[in-house]
């Protein structure tokens, strides 16, 4: 393995609590070098899952958070200047392709569609990457894997994967784990007592019922972990819930009132 990417190996096991057969499915797909797409609401553990799998498969992980100002050169690499003249600098995708890492493109739909087409030749049986600025064709390392994630919920129709892109991937749908497991996760990650974690999850479950009633997404597991961590720090439950859960979620007065009601129905009257 190349020295450049050794730091990208994950040494300690990232905590991930499996809720189904996604670990087996993903491992099988990785064995067959199938590009994978992880779909699911924000904060439900997609990124953590990829980190966990990279650790499990003992592959380096190159993560790239996509945004709409991202250009193809941000992925592939560009020429830079040094004292002698010009020098080519590999982008994260090229690094992963050359040296055999897992390349994880987080929130891939945020990238413009003309940017995402550069991955097309990588995702079929060619497994090559064109670096047209350098006049090079990189053959993918046998260990190279491509994983993308996206959240089908809140993005508009304008932001969606082209069929020609999405059909190249296998996909696993993620959702929030069942309440008991989610409570375990919250308790483990944040350090609150299992009882508080259960109540936090119950608040989130109620908030998720408002999906489509003005809320694009309910409270995510991540929010609960933040709230739990604050509670473990000694912040009062109500303040922690307000800071990490209800206030960030919506600006709508009616929704705020309902969300505060949900907190109240778990933790009692607001002080």
């Amino acid at each position: 393995m190349n020295d450049d990417i050794l730091p990208l190996l994950i040494e300690d096991e990232p905590y991930y609590r499996s809720t189904g057969n996604e670990v087996e499915l993903f491992s099988a797909a990785m064995t067959r070098a199938l590009p994978m797409m992880l779909k699911g609401p924000t904060g439900c553990g997609k990124t953590r899952f990829v980190e966990h799998m990279a650790w499990r498969l003992k592959r380096p992980l190159v993560t790239m958070a996509c945004n709409e100002d991202m250009t193809a050169s941000d992925l592939l690499g560009r020429w830079l200047l040094d004292a002698q003249g010009t020098v080519w600098h590999d982008g994260p995708l090229t690094t992963a392709v050359r040296h055999g890492a897992i390349c994880y493109l987080d929130e891939v739909v945020e990238a413009r569609q003309d940017t995402t087409v550069v991955i097309h030749p990588l995702t079929d049986n060619r497994r090559i990457l064109h670096l047209d600025k350098r006049g090079e064709v990189v053959k993918a390392h046998p260990d190279f894997r491509l994983v993308v994630s996206y959240n089908p919920g809140y993005q508009s129709v304008a932001k969606d994967l082209k069929p020609s892109t999405s059909q190249r991937f296998g996909a696993i749908a993620f959702d929030f784990p069942p309440p008991a497991i989610e409570a375990d996760i919250v308790a483990y990650e944040s350090g609150v007592s299992p009882d508080i974690a259960e109540r936090l999850v119950a608040v989130a479950t109620q908030s998720r019922m408002l999906r489509g009633r003005g809320l694009d997404e309910g409270m995510s597991t991540r929010m609960l972990i933040h709230a739990g961590a604050l509670i473990a720090e000694g912040i009062s439950t109500h303040d922690a819930c307000a800071l990490a859960m209800t206030v960030p979620l919506s600006d709508d007065i009616d929704l705020q009132a309902a969300l505060r009601g949900f907190v109240e129905s778990q933790f009692g009257l607001w002080p």
Binding site: D69, T71, S73, R78, W79, L80, L81, G85, T86, A158, R199, A202, Q206, S207, M209, L210, R213, G214, I253, D254, L255, Q256, A257, A258, G261, F262, V263, E264, S265, Q266, F267, G268, L269
Partner: protein, 672 residues
């Protein structure tokens, strides 16, 4: 004409004017009011209050001529009710709305229905509060998985009655209009406590059971036990609810006494609050029975029914009986009618329902109700609120706006004129609003690093760089959508004083000018017109829509416009605001061209429509729609300032200046 000595003291020009207006509308009602005036004078302290009574009669007369006389008779028979004029006004509007399709019920309402429930100021405050927070309450319910039911309020009731209990059925949860709480801050807590309790029933109670031959006493006991049971189940899942409900248990030996209601309240508290101790043996026994059953299985309804039966037998031995109109023992609890199937339910409280029939909400819009199919009106209709400044409240669903069908436009005319720019413009409008970063510019504020590096790379490799290495951030120009709203009422058919041009022709000229000017650019413009024939028929005409070019068809339609009917400005402004709400431009403007103040055939009160239009303008502003008025009425200063605000109107006195002024105004609006 009004010369009775008692009344004389209060009569002035205002009352005479109102009486004249009433006589014009309904002579019979006028006669009755005339005889009632002396009696009314005793209860009305000042002339304005008398005028209010006359106004109301006229209002009813324009809506329902048959009911006006009945109302006038009521004024004669019961003059003391005018002591709360605003209450009577609310009551009148409620009757007119409620029975709009049923003349017999309407007459009956004005003859017999008691206006007193509408005098209750506290209930009004609480109702307003609940309606304002209704959205949040519905969300709150949804969080418990209750998505079937909506939330509404009970009918108004007399303030001397104790507050109603909430009720629930398959479609609707009704909350009381008056909330019995000591401090206003507790209102939302009480509302949540009510809804959480009903949610507990809907999730855990066996609903619509057959009551069979159970006696009312047993039913009351079962309900009491059931309330405690479902709350305990609910609190297992939502432990915070216990504290929410706790605030409303106040019963104690001292406070509640030894009658049945007191004992039941004490038992309810004992079942809820483990720390509460009670000396009464029956209460203690109830608690023991309940805890015993609860320890076995909270979901075993039969075991709890058994406990309730034991308790009711004991009550029988104590010779205590149920009060005739029993209320739930705790303020937030519902009447438990949902536990029993309706035919055998607890005796329905007749008085609470009153003599008001329930109209299915869809009925009024159902065109099939019309008897004669040839009368069928298939124009799209939109119902709007109207502001009643006397009540300081909105009259719900008061005006109906009809959109006129499009004139038969020559197909060849539209086909021959399709500007090619239109589609690209359309696409551009849908791009998200953000500043644009222009890269690879020959000049600019910043260096474009990517281009810079490429340039140097090319330079070093012996190629000639293109040199465009700058970028700059540019702002998208703000786009505007304008609705040009033309007043098409009869008055626009007259000549502008001192000229040979009709008002409507001036409006048309201005419309052509505005549409041509804006249509070519990137701003969006629509030309609409309106006229009204009472609140049930506000005609609204879209001469040019936002998405249409200002082509020959539109020009022909504009040219063919004629004047007629009245000016219900508020409804038209609301409809134009709705049309603009769909637009995605940065600024939205309604430019109203008119020649006079708002008026309509079914309104005799001065200021009513002015105040309504003012409210419509304020609402539009709240939806980020700006309004501006150009008027040809030189006496308009009296009302346009009130409607549109100090700087948002222009009075044009000369016909020749109208178009130019429209142009200037628009430029000002667009650049601002």
């Amino acid at each position: 004409m009004i010369s009775t000595p008692q009344a004389g003291a209060l009569q002035g020009p205002l009352l005479s004017r109102r009486m004249a207006a009433l006589r014009a509308v309904d002579a019979a009602a006028h006669e009755v009011v005339l005889t009632a005036l002396p009696r009314l004078t005793a209860y009305c302290g000042h002339e304005a209050a008398l005028a209010e009574a006359v106004d109301l009669t006229a209002q009813i007369a324009t809506e329902a001529p048959d009911a006006a006389r009945v109302f006038a008779e009521r004024l004669y028979g019961q003059p003391e009710m005018m002591a709360d004029a605003a209450g009577v006004r609310r009551w009148t509007l409620h009757g007119l709305q409620r029975h709009r399709n049923d003349a017999a019920h309407r007459i009956d309402y004005f003859r017999r229905n008691d206006p007193r429930p509408f005098f209750d100021q506290r209930a009004r405050n609480d109702s307003d509060y609940l309606m304002e927070h209704r959205g949040g309450l519905i969300h709150y319910l949804a969080g418990f998985g209750i998505a079937q039911q909506s939330v509404d309020l009970h009918e108004p009731q007399d303030e001397r009655e104790p507050a109603q209990a909430p009720t629930a059925d398959k479609e609707m949860i009704r909350l009381p209009r008056r909330l019995d709480v000591t401090e206003t801050g507790q209102r939302d807590l009480l509302a949540r406590a009510m809804l959480a309790h009903i949610a507990a029933h809907l999730r855990h109670s066996p609903l619509a059971r057959m009551a069979g031959n159970r006696r009312p006493m047993l039913l009351a006991m079962i309900a009491l036990i059931e309330d405690a049971r479902v709350e305990r189940l609910m609190a297992q899942e939502y432990p915070g609810l216990h504290a929410v409900w706790s605030s409303f248990f106040t019963a104690s030996k001292e406070a509640s006494g030894h009658d049945l209601a007191g004992l039941m309240a004490r038992l309810a508290r004992a079942l809820h609050d483990p720390t509460y101790s009670d000396t009464n043996t029956w209460v203690r026994k109830g608690r023991e029975l309940f805890e015993e059953a609860a320890a076995r299985d909270l979901r075993d309804v039969d075991a709890f029914d058994y406990a309730a039966r034991q308790l009711s037998i004991d009550i029988g031995r104590m010779h205590l009986s149920l009060p005739i109109r029993s209320r739930p023992t705790v303020a937030y609890r519902d009447d438990n009618a949902l536990l029993w199937s309706p035919d055998l339910a607890l005796p329905v409280d007749e008085a609470a329902d009153g003599d008001i029939e329930l109209i299915p909400s869809a009925a009024r819009d159902d065109p099939l109700l019309a008897q004669d199919l040839s009368d069928l009106d298939l124009r799209p209709r939109y119902v709007y609120q109207e502001w009643d400044h006397r009540l300081e409240a909105l009259r719900e669903d008061w005006t109906t706006v009809f959109e006129q069908p499009r004139q038969n436009r020559g197909i060849e005319a539209t086909a021959s004129f399709t500007p090619p720019t239109r589609t690209s413009h359309h696409g551009a409008r849908r791009t998200p609003d953000r500043s644009i970063r222009l890269t690879r510019q020959a000049e600019g504020d910043e260096i474009d690093m990517n281009a810079m590096v490429e340039n140097v790379v090319q330079q070093r490799s012996g190629l000639s760089p293109d040199g465009r290495i700058f970028c700059h951030h540019s702002r998208r120009r703000r786009s505007t959508a304008v609705v040009l709203l033309m007043d098409l009422s009869t008055s626009t058919n007259r000549f502008v004083p001192g000229s040979f041009t009709k008002v409507i022709d001036l409006e048309k000229q201005a419309a052509v000018m505005v549409a041509e000017m804006l249509d070519a650019g990137r701003d969006r413009v629509a030309v609409h017109g309106f006229s009204s024939n009472g609140r049930h028929e506000v005609n609204y005409r879209r001469i040019k829509n936002f998405d249409e070019p200002f082509g020959p068809g539109q020009r022909a339609e504009l040219a063919a416009l004629t004047s007629g009917l009245s000016t219900r400005m508020g409804a038209a402004l609301r409809h134009a605001t709705t049309a603009l709400a769909k637009e995605t431009t940065d600024t939205k403007v309604i430019l109203l061209l008119t020649d006079g103040e708002p008026s309509d055939i079914d309104v005799v009160e001065e200021n009513y429509l002015v105040e309504d239009a003012r409210e419509a303008v304020a609402r539009a502003a709240a939806r980020r729609v700006r309004t501006f008025c150009l008027t040809l009425d030189r006496r308009a200063d009296r009302y346009v300032r009130r409607i549109f605000g100090a700087r948002n109107f222009l009075i044009v006195e000369r016909a020749s200046a109208f178009t130019a002024n429209t142009n200037n105004t628009l430029m000002r609006l667009l650049t601002r």
